[in-house]
């Protein structure tokens, strides 16, 4: 997918984040979000023990003991705070993160997420993914509409291992925004000029439409 589509997804997710929200960003597209906040203030939480991630430092100010959960150098925002890993997951699992923006391998029609392992492949990393899925107040999946092999990400039933019984609230792709309900996904917005027929074609499950005009 091209960068402009990735940016489009990031910008659309930003609309969902309330001013002042505590947000945890997963790897992939979510990492673009800090560059597209457009003046909105959010507080970024990092699994390894920080609330208040600031901008990426220049080379001179790198400190390997001030890093993000993806192990990239970061700085601290004004009013940041530091804590240990147990306290960091009090924040995450305890329901104190307002929104987690995560990538996904698959999402089922009710919002159940698969984002940590591919079946048949060695599963050697889970990190904080399942804690975020279990604990965040709101889960927004930010993802391409299809995987690299053109398989849909939004599917009838997960074929990849689940990340937990807790469902995502929303999926944002380059083509569409879906909300998850007990009756399945509802398309609430189209983000590209794709036709409805084509959108249904590349989506792995039926969905209802409730689009603002």
């Amino acid at each position: 997918m091209n960068q402009s589509d990735r940016v489009k997804i990031a910008k659309r997710v930003v609309e969902e984040l309330p001013e002042g929200a505590v947000v945890n960003l997963g790897v992939g597209i979510p990492t673009l979000i800090p560059d597209y906040l457009d003046g909105k203030k959010v507080y970024l939480q990092s699994e390894n023990g920080l609330l208040g991630i600031g901008p990426t430092p220049d080379e001179e100010h790198v400190n390997m003991d001030l890093i993000s959960a993806s192990k990239k150098p970061i700085t601290m925002d004004t009013g940041a705070s530091l804590f240990d890993s147990a306290d960091s997951f009090v924040v995450i699992r305890g329901g104190h993160v307002d929104a987690a923006v995560l990538g996904a391998l698959q999402v089922d029609r009710y919002g159940e997420i698969a984002n940590w392992a591919v079946p048949g492949k060695k599963i050697l990393g889970v990190g904080g993914a399942m804690d975020l899925v279990a604990g965040a107040k709101k889960i927004i999946i930010a993802s391409t509409h299809q995987a690299k092999n053109n398989q849909p990400k939004l599917v009838e039933k997960l074929t990849f291992p689940s990340s937990g019984v807790r469902k995502a609230e929303m999926l944002v792709t380059e083509h569409a925004v879906f909300k998850f309900t007990e009756d399945g996904p509802v398309l609430i917005e189209k983000l590209s000029d794709i036709s409805m027929a084509e959108l249904r074609e590349i989506t792995g499950t039926e969905f209802k439409e409730k689009i603002k005009i």
């Binding site: 001179e60 400190n63 890993s85 147990a86």
Partner: protein
Amino acid sequence: MKKLIKSSDTLDFIKDGDTLLVGGFGLSGTPLTLLDEIADSNKKDLTVVSNNLGEAGRGLGKLLLAGNLKKAVGSYFTTNRDAVEAWNRGELEIELVPQGTLAEAIRCGGAGIGGFYTKTAVGTKIADGKEEKVIDGERYIFEKAIKGDVAIIKSLKADTLGNLIYDHTGRNFNPLMATAAKTVIAEVDEIVEAGEIDPHHVVTPHLFVDYLVESKYVKKGGVYVESV
């Protein structure tokens, strides 16, 4: 200062087959000097509890290559390709634990708590074979506390009693591991007089720390390099 020992003395406290709790997140907040000592020793069959297995050939990655390890318990090994390969060849056991569960289990190990019910991983492969309990209408799985024989941790600054503070996110698992092993050895960049750290700011009280070792690494350009 009776707590100060040489880094090589660390080996006296570790037996073959022991469980080591190793602080750090990737290479951040990691006791690199103590790990060098173990990698240079012939300790074997160690089980390591740590979030990652360092990086390929660095930090805990050295112990893997040196053949010290039997098993690794942690949340994320994918970024160390040596770990992935060793596991593929059947030379390394791996137990994958969600990061928050890992942190909480270690904390419980140090706290006289036998185990706990977490909502994390309910309904996933990680929950396979684990006891499930419904509490106030929500599903939880049981996780047992984790304890170690020896904890090796990394701190920015100790006082002569062994009170510790940490550098930014270098704190991570270190304060938890300091509570959960029979012997706790802290590698530190600097040692100051008792009383120089404000009691409000101490993160690890000295009662958790058995020994201090001065780090042989110094930070240059934000990265630790060997000082000699």
